[in-house]
Amino acid sequence: MTAVSDPRQMAYIAGQASDARVNVEIETEGMTLNIGPQHPATHGTLRIIVKLDGERVVAAEPVMGYMHRGYEKLSEVRTYPQVTTLVNRIDWLGSFANEVPFILAAERLMDVEAPPRAQWIRTALFELSRIANVVLFLGDMGVQLGAVTPVFFAFRDREFVLNQIEAVTGGRFHPNFDRIGGLKDDLPKGWIDETKGVLGRIRTFCDEMEDLVTGNEIFQSRTRGIGVIPADVGLSYGLSGANIRASGVDWDLRRDGGIGLVHDQLDWKVWTHPDGDSFARYWVRLQEVREACDMVDQLLDGIPSGPVMAKVPRIIKVPAGEAYVETENPLGVMGYYVVSKGDLVPYRVKIRSASFNNVSITPWLLEGTYVPDVVSILASLYFILGDIDR
């Protein structure tokens, strides 16, 4: 640029500039943007109607029900053992973990306790499904911000975990392995050593993520300070799991729930992060995968010998009563409120799934954010549509 010295020219430029200043106030029209139902950020079919003013989100309204399968109604016409087949399909990335709280609720009503060996294997499978589930999140989080490599790493390494789950249960995605009073079968031969090898791979994967994603400047600038959830707001919306721990709430049902699983006999730590932003949610999950690897390691070393099934009747009738059992599932708190009238089938099953509450904060959270952040915030909340719609 050349310097302007002529006063007439300067006056002209000043006039133009003041004109421009008037025109800077661009009229922005409201615009409605449909995100989904088919969108890679949504792990299923969630539609979000976003009202925009320029680049800014004025209102966001999630629309769900595209995957509503009516499990609460269907549970009322299934026997207790049959219900696990249904609930497997709620959070399909960590299916085994879905079965656990339901089985624990039925066990509490029946006053049955699984033998120690079953409890340890149950906890190990529970944590393995957490690894299989959250590993995919770690890769997926990168992809939402344009880093395509991590998701391939995630799919590659998750497969090893699924192989281990399949070796025990026979199913990669829908194990249907947990039984009232124990487990269907014992571990196959050589499984413990193989699993230890897989845990090594997952630890390497976590280190790779740390290198590739966590320290990445773009990733940091796209997630730090974005989508901040203060602790009290998160609590009033019923957020759970890593979403609430990333807001600094030190609450983990594995430590504080005191039910059925053997987490209290392990040496581990609950990770929290004070920031409450997208980055914190990602970071807490990354640490939790590492922690889960350590937990499975300890569980594999400590599995006691003995039977894997308590003595339960062949035809399971659950005594009348009500029980609510919740566990810390990969996506957050999952609970079943089971009402029994002493029949073969539950009278009513209320399924409290983690993602439903986690996503219910989106209208509050997305308001005032910018369009590109919508996707990264949604990804960082990490929900699975089966877990919302049930």
């Binding site: 769900m64 029900g65 509503h68 009516g70 609460e72 109604k73 269907l74 009322e76 016409v77 299934r78 026997t79 049959q82 509490r108 029946m110 006053d111 009290d232 707001v233 609590l235 009033s236 919306y237 019923g238 609430i244 709430v249 609450w251 504080d256 729930g257 005191g258 003595k311 339960v312 009747p313 062949r314 035809i315 399971i316 009738k317 005594p319 009348a320 009563g321 009500e322 029980a323 609510y324 919740e326 708190v333 609970g335 409120y337 009402v339 009238k341 002493g342 029949d343 073969l344 089938v345 009513r348 209320k350 409290r352 439903f356 509450n357 219910s360 904060i361 509050w364 719609d389």
Partner: protein, 245 residues
């Protein structure tokens, strides 16, 4: 007070054993609620070391939430739903090998709601009406949760919304509205959550038929066959189950 149906609650405080376990935090919680709500706290039940239930009147529904949040540190909203205590007019088809004859279901369909309203067999902490609200909140520091129930009268019951106290109740109330037909006063957006907007009926009501079960009888019971040589074990197990219930 109603006779409770649950076997756990049958041994109510009257028949307390000398070494009956107590649960200080949950008892204190019930005491605090009784203090704040007075006669609006209808009934309570503590299972020591496990859980606590309270039943309040529908008029005190929002007040209960406010008390729990502000005075009992229950800042965490867990879920809100409902239970339909009317036995299915389709009878016990859920655990019968064959469906009931269609005329039986026709006759009971209309009468069950009106005639049997005081004969409902309700669960923990009792109940008097067909529809019962069910909500749960949690203390994220003290790690105690509480289930709150409230009886709702009428076939299209109405109750005040919890959104002012727990904003997270929004979707849960929409779900209860579409699944049970319970309206929430002051709810800003009472529209369908899962089902299409032209959907009619309330699927989780017990008198809403599950079509799949109507066209095909339930196969569940025939699946369970005795294993060869396993008869005695199964018999013993049956006896055990009978004892427990």
């Amino acid at each position: 007070m109603i006779q409770l149906s649950s076997p756990d609650t049958a041994s109510s405080p009257d028949t307390e054993l000398p070494d009956a376990p107590t649960d200080a935090p949950r008892d204190a919680l019930v005491a605090a609620l009784a203090d704040a709500l007075g006669s609006n706290l209808v009934e309570s039940h503590v299972e020591p070391g496990v859980d606590v239930w309270v039943r309040v009147t529908a008029e005190a529904w929002v007040e209960t939430a406010t008390v729990l949040r502000d005075r009992c540190a229950m800042t965490y909203f867990n879920f809100l739903s409902a239970v339909d205590w009317m036995p299915s007019p389709y009878g016990r088809d859920m655990d019968a090998q064959v469906d009931l004859s269609p005329d039986a279901s026709d006759g009971s369909d209309a009468t069950a709601g009106a005639a049997g309203s005081d004969a409902f067999e309700t669960g923990v902490a009792g109940g008097e009406t067909r529809f019962q609200l069910l909500a749960r909140v949690h203390d994220p520091v003290g790690h105690v949760g509480i289930t709150i129930k409230a009886d709702l009268t009428g076939d299209r019951p109405e109750v005040d919304s919890w959104i002012g106290v727990y904003p997270g109740a929004d979707w849960h109330e929409r779900e209860a509205w579409e699944m049970f037909g319970i309206s929430f006063r002051n709810h800003p957006n009472q529209v369908h959550l899962y089902l299409p907007s032209h959907f009619e009926g309330n699927p989780l009501r017990k008198d809403y038929p599950l079509l799949a079960r109507r066209v095909k009888p339930w196969p569940g019971i025939v699946d369970v066959e005795l294993m060869p040589g396993g008869d005695d074990e199964a018999d013993g197990a049956e006896a055990e189950a009978g004892e427990a219930s």
